[in-house]
């Protein structure tokens, strides 16, 4: 079953790749903030000020004005983080 040596080797190599990515992620501050990212993605739509008029009522239309305001605030929040 020396094929196992190959598979274990390949799997370890893949695991090592993941480990390096993990170390990189931690070192570059990817995980310093574990709250803002989860909220930020909710505000990533329709940020351009001169938006085309929309047809019909999209399912989330009611949230849009609120989103836009919070978004500005939010992108400011994330600034210090990106300068780490």
């Amino acid at each position: 079953m020396n094929i196992m040596f190959l598979l274990i080797g390949v799997s370890l190599l893949a695991a090592m790749t993941f480990l390096l990515l993990f170390i990189w992620a931690v070192k570059t501050g990817q995980y310093d903030d574990t709250f803002t990212p989860s909220v930020r993605i909710l505000f990533d739509d329709d940020e351009v000020s001169e938006k085309e008029p929309e047809k019909g009522n999209g399912p989330h239309k009611e949230d849009k004005t609120a989103d836009k305001e919070t978004n500005k605030e939010n992108s400011n929040c994330s600034l210090p983080e990106s300068q780490l």
């Binding site: 993941f18 993605i41 399912p59 990106s82």
Partner: protein, 711 residues
């Protein structure tokens, strides 16, 4: 801070969505066809192209790579751009990725129906298609990594990590499992043999489940569930923890597909251990998803997309609990080779992947096309049809699996098997196969509503091909500078460079090391086991081409009720010349590992095989085996034989040097013996027909170690 203007590429997302809808319909339709074929053999349509052994791989490949694959790319390409605040790296790469993937799907359909297959489950595609898959997959990866590098948000959102792991995982798995030696344009032999091939295949097979059906979909869940419910993910921290745990553990669990089989115990134990540990990270995802809806369950009542996602997460939780349980040897003895496994895969496939696809698209399509959904009512009807369809599909199959297992292991007072004839167990579960068709029909009719609803929505809508967006430039020093070439950028990014080098090393290493490993040293050899004769080898190729492994295993487990039924349990040394291994994973018919062992229950004479292949119903009126009358009409191409012998020699099969020149003569000589045998039974047939080779191959199975051979 400078605010940059850019565009999102919505067109490529639209392409992948339309491909998802079309291939989804095809994949489910083929699924319906094979369900019908199992209950009513007439649906094999009397054509070699449409018999179950070829349509079943078509169904699995179409569902996984065409339906789920296209949906995954659509979902990734939409969310990647938005969470990274960047247009996709390169429009040309996006186009090559899309069209390349569709060409692969069309080639897959044509080759699988044409009988061009490697005979390895979910990796059936032949070598030219394998190469194309690798190229397109790398195109996709380059496009994704390029987008990550030019992002405008420093933080890489959880979803992107899952996408990245999926790309890396599939790249490594596909390349290692697909190392094969071409014989002709559409025929190759895997370099691994027997048990080695089995281990590599299921290392791939299980990780394809991991990195194609799980990790991309958890990533998509982490984007689309918060978006659809407008709630942040319950615990971002948990998403990080279970991501790293899951990708570290998954790679090792493959051998749980080979429990009790001809494999060293320690390899089996390794697979079981990691499979059990996988419960934790898997449930991390389910819990995180469901708890995201905390305080928002009222939305589930109103939004069909959330209903689907809730079912998806529930199905994911059930399947990832059931999976580790099925990895326990005692449970595996029941579930393996029976319909239990088929039920399990459909809970995961229809429930988790199906639910995520439907949920994602019910949210994404109206959003992308800037219009409300064409019909909410239709979406809700679809939800109930799909959910009831899954239940009506899976429950009968669980029932069938356990019923069949109970019957197979039933002994009477005399200590003999109560149901020695395998067919009795198949007949018993036939009503369950009828229910399963109904379940499939329900699910498919729901899909048709979805299909109609989606196209109506798309027609009503108005897609902005290049959606304008703006975001502050990333001021981080590691970001790409104006005018800098991609290579310079990668050079500066030590980590990225290291990762790419590792991938290159993995590919290079695999190519270098694998050929050296092809002849195994520490597999216990059995002196009596000899290579296949040219006639038997030709028969084996026909066996593989027709997908016989989809219904017949060649692996007897050391369980009393298996050895009593089929004979001596399978040994690792019996398979050293099997390129590819053909152990199978489901017994719709009896095991064939002892079909050449004179005196075993599966040993049949040449004339029996002839009659059984041409008119199986005349031998067993209740059989669901399709008829193969063309075996008696089609000729074997003898000009290929020397090439095949040479290929086998390259792979380490010990034919005498120069044997390829004598192979055709040997072929004819051995064929004449079977022709004479058939003639004595009143059948006149030419020696070069496929049926002669098939009979020779079946008579080889288990013969080498049988008592008759020892004399």
């Amino acid at each position: 801070m400078e605010v940059q203007q850019f565009n999102y590429d919505n067109k490529i997302v639209k392409y992948f969505i339309i491909a998802t809808l079309i291939w989804g319909a095809v994949a489910l339709l083929v699924g319906l066809l094979i369900a019908l074929q199992l209950a009513f053999p007439a649906f094999n349509l009397g054509l070699e192209y449409t018999t179950y052994g070829r349509t079943r791989p078509l169904h699995t490949n179409a569902v996984i790579f065409a339906f789920i694959g296209n949906a995954m790319f659509a979902g990734m390409y939409y969310s990647l751009q938005r969470v990274l605040k960047a247009r996709l790296f390169n429009d040309l790469l996006s186009k090559v990725h899309f069209w390349g993937w569709q060409i692969i799907i069309v080639l897959a359909a044509l080759t699988l129906l044409g009988g061009f297959t490697t005979g390895k489950e979910y990796a059936e595609l032949e070598w030219p298609v394998d190469i194309l898959i690798a190229l397109i997959w790398v195109t996709f990866g380059a496009n994704m990594i390029g987008t990550i590098l030019k992002r405008r948000v420093k933080h890489i959102y959880a979803s992107v990590w899952w996408y990245l792991a999926s790309f890396l995982g599939i790249a490594v798995l596909h390349i290692v499992n697909s190392v094969e030696l071409p014989v002709s344009l559409l025929k190759s032999y895997p370099v691994y043999a027997g048990a080695q091939d089995a281990v590599v295949q299921w290392w791939y097979g299980h990780n394809a489940v991991a990195f194609f059906l799980t990790t991309p979909w958890l990533g998509l869940m982490y984007y689309y569930l918060p978006k659809a419910s407008n709630r942040p993910i319950y615990s971002y921290q948990l998403s990080i923890v279970h991501f790293w745990t899951l990708i570290f553990l998954y790679m090792w669990s493959g051998p749980h597909h080979l429990l009790y089989q001809a494999l060293p115990d320690w390899v089996q134990a390794l697979g079981v251990t990691f499979s059990i540990m996988l419960i934790a990270p898997s449930w991390g995802g389910m819990i995180n998803g469901l708890l995201t809806l905390r305080g928002a369950w009222d939305k589930v009542r109103d939004q069909a997309e959330l209903k689907f996602m809730v079912v998806a997460l529930t199905a994911y939780g059930m399947a990832t609990f059931e999976g580790p349980m099925m990895s326990l040897k005692s449970v595996n003895a029941i579930s393996h080779f029976t319909d239990w496994t088929i039920a399990h895969t459909h809970i995961a496939g229809m429930g988790w992947n199906g639910g995520m696809i439907f949920g994602m698209l019910y949210w994404l399509v109206p959003k992308l096309f800037r219009t409300p959904l064409y019909s909410k009512k239709m979406a809700n009807t679809h939800f109930w049809l799909a959910t009831l369809g899954i239940l009506m599909f899976a429950i009968p199959l669980y029932w069938a699996g356990i019923t069949q297992w109970l019957m197979l292991r039933e002994y009477n007072a005399n200590g003999l098997l109560t149901y020695p004839n395998f067919l009795e167990t198949t007949t018993q579960i036939m009503p369950m196969y009828h229910f399963r068709i109904l379940g499939g029909l329900l699910f498919f009719s729901g899909f048709l509503l979805f299909f109609y609803n989606m196209f109506k929505t798309i027609a009503m809508g108005n897609l902005v091909d290049n959606e304008a967006a703006e975001a502050p430039a990333l001021t981080d020093s590691s970001a790409r500078k104006a005018g800098e070439t991609l290579h310079r950028l990668i050079e500066r990014k030590g980590v990225v460079l290291t990762v790419l080098v590792l991938i290159a090393l993995a590919i290079g290493g695999a190519v270098e090391i694998i050929p050296m490993l092809k002849i195994e040293s520490n597999i216990p050899r059995i002196a009596a086991v000899t290579p296949y004769t040219p006639l038997e080898l030709a028969g084996r190729d026909i066996y593989v081409a027709n997908g016989c492994y989809n219904c017949h295993s060649q692996q007897i487990r050391p369980l009393r009720w298996e050895t009593d039924r089929y004979g001596e349990y399978s040994k690792i040394g019996e398979f050293v010349y099997d390129h590819p291994f053909q152990w199978g994973s489901r017994r719709t018919g009896p095991d064939l590992a002892r079909a050449g062992w004179v005196g075993s229950s599966t040993y049949k004479t040449a004339i029996w095989h002839y009659n059984h292949f041409t008119k199986p119903k005349e031998i067993n009126p209740q059989t669901i085996m399709p008829a193969y009358p063309w075996f008696a009409k089609n000729n074997v191409d003898l000009t290929d034989i020397p090439k095949k012998i040479r290929a086998m020699q390259t792979l380490g099969v010990p034919y005498a040097p120069g044997y390829d020149q004598k192979a055709v003569a040997d072929y004819k000589e051995q064929a004449q013996i079977i022709v004479a045998e058939l003639k004595a039974s009143g059948v006149d047939i030419a020696a070069d027909k496929e049926i002669i080779a098939m009979i020779a191959y079946l008579h080889k199975l288990g013969r080498d170690i049988s008592p008759a051979n020892q004399k």
